[in-house]
Symmetry: C2
Subunit: 466 residues, 2 copies
Amino acid sequence: MTQIDTVLAQAEAGMAAAQQRWINWLRIPSIGAAPEHAADCRAAAEFARQQLEDMGFDAKLRETGGHPAIVAHHPGPAARLGGGEVPHLLYYGHYDVQPADPLSLWNSPPFEPTIVDGPHGPRVYARGAVDDKGQVAMWLGAFRAWFDATGGLPCRITALIEGEEETGSVNFKPFVIANRDELKADICIISDTGMWDIDTPAISSSLRGMTYMEVTLKAASRDLHSGMYGGSALNPINALTRALGQLTDDQGRIQVPGFYDGITDISAGKANQWASLGFDESKFLGDIGLSVPVGEAGRGALERLWARPTVDICGIWGGYSGPGTKTVIAAEASAKVSFRLVPGQDPEAVQQGFIAFMKARVPADAKLEFTTFGTSPGLEMNTDSPFMQAAQAALTDEYGRPAVMIGCGGSIPVVDTITRELGMDSVLMGFGLDDDQVHSPNEKFEVRCFQQGLRSHARLLGKLAG
Amino acid sequence: MTQIDTVLAQAEAGMAAAQQRWINWLRIPSIGAAPEHAADCRAAAEFARQQLEDMGFDAKLRETGGHPAIVAHHPGPAARLGGGEVPHLLYYGHYDVQPADPLSLWNSPPFEPTIVDGPHGPRVYARGAVDDKGQVAMWLGAFRAWFDATGGLPCRITALIEGEEETGSVNFKPFVIANRDELKADICIISDTGMWDIDTPAISSSLRGMTYMEVTLKAASRDLHSGMYGGSALNPINALTRALGQLTDDQGRIQVPGFYDGITDISAGKANQWASLGFDESKFLGDIGLSVPVGEAGRGALERLWARPTVDICGIWGGYSGPGTKTVIAAEASAKVSFRLVPGQDPEAVQQGFIAFMKARVPADAKLEFTTFGTSPGLEMNTDSPFMQAAQAALTDEYGRPAVMIGCGGSIPVVDTITRELGMDSVLMGFGLDDDQVHSPNEKFEVRCFQQGLRSHARLLGKLAG
């Protein structure tokens, strides 16, 4: 039996326990955006820290100004058989989860993990099932398999788990920069992305960035009777919808000034590779009850999802939303606006552009207030490194077929900091599926994906140990 | 001492008790739009019914399909001294009030009436302080003064008080039609409008009508991750703001097809009379923290407020509105849209026009749902009748100056039914002030307005009795 076979056998022996730890973690409602869940966030951090400590890591909760981060160091094998250096790996993930509302749309309570049989076997429903507790629990499980099978870990490892990923890593990014020397490693390994499908592993070669802002438009000093004041007094909802309604033209082009500055079209090679994936946008949309794609006219489906920037109003509110009627001109109205960005765009320039866009489109009396919730640029990964080759080999061993290179439309705010400030590449090896309902009610993760992801991580450690 | 002097002396003697009844009525949270306040609405109706019964009315709560109406009949003087017929007066008002939210903006609880000294003496803060419990309490107090002073009432009176005015009188209008013969009188007297200022009484010669609709735009079958789906999946908030944002052009003209059909400009005579009022729009707007009027370009200030139709989005909601960020494409978004209408416009045509407007402006995948909360046309009153002259005389006696004829930008849905179905004119003699914060937090009514309004109603009864 080779060493990796021993480790994989141990992974199987420990699988039930690994899943139980994952499920127990999901019970902690670590909603990063909600101040009232701050203690839950800390509890979720401590839950992971303890596991790392149990495997011989020097594992600490570290204060960041936001929710605490976990930083844990393991020196790797004390004495290396073949001599030479082992690589130093930085595993990054996050324990914070998105808000669970609207709660009424969940089939089971979001923080009571519920196992249901699906077409691919059992799956776990819970907020954070996959994003990102489930995916972090996979690599924690891989560490455990190595630790239990060999008494140690085959590489030097730093684990870095944050609590602000879903809210822009506003405090975590400066923490990473401030601890640059401690955190710097040879490669960053992240599981927070998806597979191509349940049989086909994938490595993500790009991430979209984000500028996420809240805008409030204030008008009169109080709510007004729409009969007494309608026709004279500024209505902030009218004005806000009028401005936001101009964010795109009828070709889906975003009208924020300078928005497309710096973007280059994808290469012919990448276009061809993506075309070879045979993406079926009709099925992709059909699965969610839609049929007609939106986005920029004249762009391919995967290009729109992975390599073109977008604007989505993630929330809007103002005035009366109760039953029946209230004939009111509200005093203010607000919206949350998310721009997904691609490499070349400057997130701060987009932020300033949006502010200018709004100011140019509201009446003189409108008072605008903006809040920016962190920004991150779009990123392109280095796909040629030996670490990528090792990940590719590990996935091929596990799935019996090579991983496809895909883009990721989502954002992981800190990856830019890791890239630019720590000078490190990242390998984005994720195991989510399109239908995992990430950020939605009834988020789930397939147990099969969890198990194959755990084994893939165990295999990757073996490949990197050499 | 003439009879009216006796009655006015009795009004003074009973003023404290009249104010206490008004205040006690305000304690009942009769929010018509909120189903959970149905019992409160019934209690508020019973509160008024009992007062009418105590004054010799045959007073009953009558079921309407919505909140109950009060119908109360008093035959008037048993034997009339001078012989001849006394007029039959229909007093109309409503006991339902607007929702009180946002509660956080109230300086005192909306259903705990609070007396505060202001620049015109004491004022009462509460939801419904003026609209319409305060104004109904004035004429109930005038009835009481006559009843206590003379043992009866000087005219035949039918009192009709509903509980659906703020929600479009959807069930009440058919009730009025079904009881046409019982309710028909010589004139309808309504106090649900305003004065010119606290020293200058006013009679409203017109009302705007209303078409109030809720629209919901549904997209995907569930909330979506804005990174995974942004650029392909329809965002209902994007689509809703895009459509609603086109409701007016840059001249403030409403773009609903056929919207202005049937409207005629105000007469030169009316324009001159309104100009003579010396309305100061800068002050009107300055009092609420604004400075630049909105509405149709090229129209006068009072014309925009009283004689031109408007569109106001009274509420909008969709997606995430909590703290921080949620990167979500919501499954649906909604808005409440109110059109104030003027004479000549067909409210049902406006309703159909809005539906067509929205359908023409949303993407193919958008599923639109509409709810209409009652409609009423704009109305022009007959200002030449002897009843108007009597009201004018009563107000002149009370205030020492004649009432000015004004328009009213608000709507009283049932007045159209009374006009068309019962064939009756209405006298709109109201005592609210512009700064009463009707439909807003901190609604108030000046005690001085209440007292002068009560006396004006007592005087009007004397004028009409002849």
